[in-house]
Symmetry: C2
Subunit: 439 residues, 2 copies
């Protein structure tokens, strides 16, 4: 972990020890830690200093005859001290007889007390001071879980022959992106910000067969809700040569299991700090048809969508009947799905698409797409649009595309569900919404 | 590679074989491939069909009594045939007595002949038809190298305790982004697209110490050159607790070596198809000071920057004197660096920043940043701006930041240099520039 050239280039000093590794230091040895003054607690005869770095916390004991000033909390410091066993210290080892060097000017008092076990601040305070409030170990844990999830997402797909792609965020027409698009002044003419890489990931299935992208998408959401952001991170997947949406769902199962596995493997400390349970993904996700789902929850058969209370009831049913936190609902009415959705072959009122529910909340939407050029022309015309407006997208289909499908996972929504955050704003590093554009 | 649930759900059919694996098929066995008709060549007694999939090419032989129609080139097909040894076939095995099933309508004739060994098309043709021209194996190789480089970038940093972050692309003020920013209509008020994650990655060093981001950045470049795009992929790194820019350069060395290693490990086929050489990264990158570099190339000592011909001469010198494709130039004049740049402690005319040259071309810019809040206030005031305009950025420094630094690598520029592409547009999947907004 520290075998980089940058560490090797510092041979003359005692090597830095991460706070979490202080517990393993040889008693009596000289240890150097670097980090933030997490907590400074002056008692009559001694001052306890807790130093925080990216790994965790370490305790430093300062006695009057050490002749050391302890800078205010959040100041960055280097501490060189003697590792000393103390059963009361975190990890059983603390640093004594320290030399403390401040690495910057004394820090201003943080807007919230970061050393308290939990961060009890109102959401606007948390967000206004994001660069500081993210330092709280419990808050930081949420992002560690997000990052570990993305790592698991990629490693699952890399192992399955997928190619990572990067598609443009500037698009030429609002048509490509649907409603609620942001308009940009693009060298004096209008352009739009992509609401999703949908069209591009499909075109790239024509090149690489299997593609994924992790990147920002932009939605001018006029709704001020706990689950909408103007900008969020979309984990997009698309693959060719599928039989139908069930193959896509099979892949989604593996990807979700990979994301959960990423958390377990790379963010175990964060899981512990938050006291959450990483979801267990069944080998096969139970599937119910949309029509059966309506019947199950007692909704009228002509309902075009599932209401939140329906989704909750379905989640309870999946847990009760299948012991699963996950449930896929397939066959959503074509009328409610975008034009590129593949219909259900035996009954075109329904679609070869699905939603994945996690504990009764919608987590992922996906499905099979159309792949025959004539189907696209008909579908675009059927919604009253001119296929010529889609010419650059349609060339991929005219020149041969396989049956394909895919899905998109909203990172913030995923992280909120896993961590139990009530609002997606809590798990975006610097959220953007109707009202917020800073920090 | 094919052990996913999605593959397991297809037990009743002969499992799909990737084209590259046909050579390993048991002669006489029944093999199923899926892909595009890459080449259809009808001779008097036989038609040769080359099928292309994500792995490579496989040959299918169709005889009149097979009773098979061969759809036009680029049509997607499934072919079930008998593996038959033939020393003349690619890989020594071809499929005979095939059943060919078209998976879509007959494909339109491609704008360029994709089956030719090299793609001889003018750049505008290549770009106008990107969804199709990327299918050419040699062209696709460039992106495979890009994707493998990113994979090596991440794995190097993941192993060194870095956290991947995702920072906002909407920013509140043009100040944060400098000149050439794109303006967006953000719910009726102006916002701007981030030109770099610089401010955010620094703030996040205060949280995670070591961060990286792979994502789009936006520059309203009015210049129509072979190395500027309006949107490109930036590989951004920032880390805390450095001594100075030399620690940053040490990390950059490891990251560049990791990217080269990613290519060797994950894109060997692409390297072979392009006939290129993956650069060898020396254990230590030679470093020359800016002032010495000027003297070496015979430029006046008051020059504020290196001209392209100077960089070329320095590249030749590094190869001749150090046997290195890479050379770092450190100490660029403070006057030419952004305000957050850390000065050289013993002579503040110079900076603790560097450019990394690769074969005489600038590839990466990086360095140490200021970390004391009072230094920021002074630096912002010195360029005639009000520090209050930077309030949300500055709170990270007021609340304690470590000495830190970082760098940014432009993915398209990197890929162009590695593959020898003359224009960055050739290696962006769907480039965006002054004139181009589609496909």
């Amino acid at each position: 972990m520290n075998s980089l050239s940058l560490e090797k280039s510092q041979p003359t000093r005692v090597e830095r020890t991460l706070c979490d590794d202080v517990s393993a230091a040889e008693p009596g040895s000289v240890v150097r830690v670097q980090g933030w003054v997490h907590r400074r607690r002056a008692l009559s005869a001694v001052t306890f200093v807790v130093v925080r770095d990216r790994s965790g916390l370490a305790q430093v004991v300062v006695r009057p005859d050490d002749g050391q000033d302890v800078p205010p909390e959040e100041t960055t410091v280097e501490v060189v001290g003697t590792a000393t066993a103390n059963p009361q210290a975190p990890g059983g080892v603390e640093l004594t007889a320290p030399t403390i060097t401040a690495l910057t000017e004394p820090a201003a008092t943080p807007p919230v007390e970061l050393w308290r076990p939990s961060l009890n601040a109102a959401l606007p305070t948390m967000l206004d001071h994001a660069p500081v409030t993210w330092r709280h170990p419990a808050r930081r844990a949420a992002w560690e879980i997000a990052a570990a999830s993305v790592r698991g997402f990629r490693s699952t797909l890399d192992a399955a022959g997928f190619t990572e792609v990067q598609t443009p965020k500037f698009v030429a027409s609002a048509t490509e992106s649907g409603a609620n698009v942001f308009e940009v002044d693009y060298f004096g003419r209008p352009a739009y910000l992509a609401q999703s890489p949908q069209f591009y990931k499909q075109q790239l299935v024509g090149v690489f067969e299997r593609v994924y992208e992790v990147g920002p998408v932009f939605r001018a959401e006029p709704h001020d809700t706990v689950r909408h952001l103007a900008e969020y991170v979309s984990l997009d997947v698309e693959l060719g040569f599928v039989r139908d949406h069930r193959d896509v769902l099979g892949l989604l199962r593996d990807v979700v299991a990979g994301m959960a596995g990423g958390i377990t493997e790379h963010a175990a400390g964060a899981v512990e700090r938050l006291g959450i349970e990483v979801p267990r993904v069944p080998d096969r996700i139970p599937v119910i048809h949309f029509a059966d789902a309506l019947a199950l929850v007692g909704a009228p058969p002509e309902e075009p969508d599932l209401a939140p209370e329906h989704e909750r009831a379905l989640g309870e049913w999946a847990l009760r009947e299948h012991g699963s936190d996950f449930l896929a609902v397939e066959g959503y009415p074509m009328a409610k799905r975008p034009f590129y959705t593949h219909p259900q072959p035996d009954d075109p009122r329904w679609s070869n698409s699905f939603d994945l529910l996690f504990r009764g909340l919608e987590l992922v939407t996906g499905g099979q797409r159309l792949h025959r050029p004539s189907d696209y022309v008909a579908a675009i015309a059927a919604q009253g649009e001119d296929p010529a407006a889609y010419a650059s997208y349609l060339q991929a289909f005219e020149h041969g595309m396989p049956p394909h499908g895919g899905f998109a996972i909203g990172l913030e929504r995923w992280t909120a569900r896993i961590t139990g955050a009530a609002n997606v704003r809590e798990v975006a590093l610097f959220p953007r919404d109707l009202h917020r554009l800073t920090p």
